[in-house]
């Protein structure tokens, strides 16, 4: 269990983190989303000990994170970085050993991950000669090669082609199934929605919404309904005082009800106006929740 507790950090006059808190449980795939400059990278750097917080703390399994715990974390920095002239396989072996893996195990693990990430053929090449996509995969290998107990990945999907996205998604799911908490940041909200068990939306250095995506949806409430009527205009809606139109598409109308309004009244009004083809709760997408949260 990873817990970020009231993290605070300033850069000069700029407040990067303003009491940021969230927790990620074992086996949880956790999406960390927010506009640029919201503090995601700063928070991740603090988790990895690359940066010191001005206040607050990070706990791992109930204890403040120390160097011994960090050695068991896997990290993919936002700004990618590997030694350009080093051979890909040597690089992974070196990084695994810096995390305390024995020489033999490091070589075995590097070989396995390079195979898995589709880099076996370029294992002996200098990293700088790889395509950007392959460098990205090598970077992921660097985060995984020491079999970490926690994964913290800053924008791991950016720059990947669709195949790469699939490979990475599968690796992250598989790690989570193995009980590893996986935290990653991304601007690809559909991907986060599809992949994650839970998310935290940050703005201005603090979490403005967090929890399982379903819960976030429920919190906003099933107040939006999609109504599809055969051959009727929207005139009938004027009779339903508690409803306001959110948007229309393809002959359907999405309606938001006042908090205490009864959706059955809406349905009755619709049936009086024409044949109801469809009447369903309209679930907000993560992107919509995100826009509302950071607005």
């Amino acid at each position: 269990m990873l817990e970020l507790d009231d993290l605070r950090r300033r850069y000069g006059e700029t407040v990067a983190l303003d009491g940021l808190s969230f927790a990620v449980g074992p086996g949880q795939l956790f999406g960390f989303v927010g506009p640029n400059g919201a503090g995601k990278t700063t928070a991740m750097r603090i988790v990895l000990g690359v940066l010191e917080p001005d206040g607050g703390g990070v706990r791992w399994n109930g204890h403040p994170v120390d160097a011994a715990a960090r050695a068991r974390f896997g990290y993919m920095p936002e700004e990618r970085g590997l030694y350009p002239k080093m051979r890909v396989a040597d690089q992974l072996v070196h990084l695994a050993r810096l995390h305390g893996v024995s020489a033999a195990d490091a070589r075995a693990a590097a070989g396995e991950w390079l195979e898995r990430l589709g880099l076996a053929e370029v294992a002996g090449r200098r990293t700088e000669t790889l395509s950007l996509g392959n460098q990205q995969r090598a970077q992921l290998g660097a985060a995984l090669v020491h079999d970490p107990e926690l994964l913290v990945l800053d924008e791991p999907f950016s720059g990947l082609d669709p195949v790469g996205v699939d490979v990475l998604s599968e690796v992250l799911r598989e790690r989570a199934r193995a009980g590893v908490p996986v935290v990653f940041s991304s601007h690809q909200l559909e991907l986060v929605e599809r992949l994650c068990d839970a998310v935290a939306i940050v703005r201005g250095g603090r979490v403005v919404a967090s929890g399982p995506v379903a819960e976030l949806r429920a919190r906003r409430g099933g107040r939006r309904w999609r109504v599809e009527l055969a051959g009727a205009s929207d005139a009938w809606l004027r009779d339903v005082a508690a409803a306001s139109v959110v948007h229309r598409d393809n002959g359907a109308v999405v309606v938001e009800l006042a908090p205490d309004a009864d959706e059955q009244a809406l349905l009755d009004a619709a049936r009086r106006a024409g044949r109801v083809r469809r009447f369903a709760p309209e679930e907000p997408t993560l992107a919509e929740l995100f826009r509302e949260a950071v607005a």
């Binding site: 920095p77 970085g81 350009p84 002239k85 810096l98 660097a142």
Partner: protein, 377 residues
Amino acid sequence: MIATPTAVALVARREIVERVRERSLWISTGVTIAILAGILILPSALGFGGATKATVATVGPRAEQVVARAHGLQKTFDVALTARPASDDVAARKLVADGDADVAVLRGGRALAAAQDADDAVIAAVQAGSQAARGASIPPPLPVERAGDSGASDRRGIAFVAVVILYGQLLGYGFWVASGVVEEKSTRVVELLLSAITPRQLLAGKVIGIGVLGISQLLVIGLVGAAVGAATGQLDVTGDLVSAVGVVLAWFVLGFLLYSCAFAVAGALVARQEEVQSVTAPLTILVVASFFLSFGALDDPDSSLARVLSFVPPSAPMVMPVRQIAGNVTASEMLVAIVLTLVAAAALIALAARVYGAAVMRTGSRVTLRTVWRGSG
């Protein structure tokens, strides 16, 4: 988490393995050895040093006998004579006039012709040869004893080569440390490294790895240089030479301890390779200045300026070895210079340990030493 010695060893090992794979290391080793071999072989190839070589033109058997006698005496006069028969006196004079011979023995051994620039020792040797050929019962020439220390100029030569090599090695390897730090910073790999090990471990591993490489290269250069020198007969592998190699190795370690951490800190202050030159300029100037100051010591190893400079830490690693090799240094003087250098190195290492960690994670524009010192509390 891994233990500090393991972390340092892993980082040092990477530095060595990766740099040995770089062609540039082998090229620089080769170039240095070539220069060294050139210094050793060229003087004799160009006719400097050793016995004075001279060609003696001869006309007729009596003249040849004169040269043969002179040949027997050439060690005494420190000359090496080669006879060149000519058909007659006119031809022999022409050889001298054209510079093809230094001296001519004319008129059946009764007269000499010498070029304007002919060496006195050559003329004296031929004179002595003609006296011997005429059967004159004169005593052999007096043996000449050179006054002063016979090894002084040799040792000065060794000291010169030593300080040139030390200068190149300290500057080159210091610069390697700085650009190695910048490489990790500019490629951002440093963030990944620091999520596994501490800045101090990274700094120590880098400096030790590059330092070990520097020592190894010096040893290879020293061994190959001595082998070439011995094989060509230009260098007697004497105690002077062996102790000079030891002095160079020792002062490389001391100088590298002193300068490398300063170079590492300089590297940590900038984010791009293009800035390495400018940020290390003050250190480069210090090394270059020490190098030129060591020339003064080469001229007069025991002058008071040389003595002072051999104790002051920035110049000690280049001036002290010159004094040790070419001059007279007491054991206590040497000890003082070593201790002062070590104290300065320790202070710089402490500064580097504090500043490097704070500076190395900063990206973007160049940071000042003052900012990182404050920020690193």
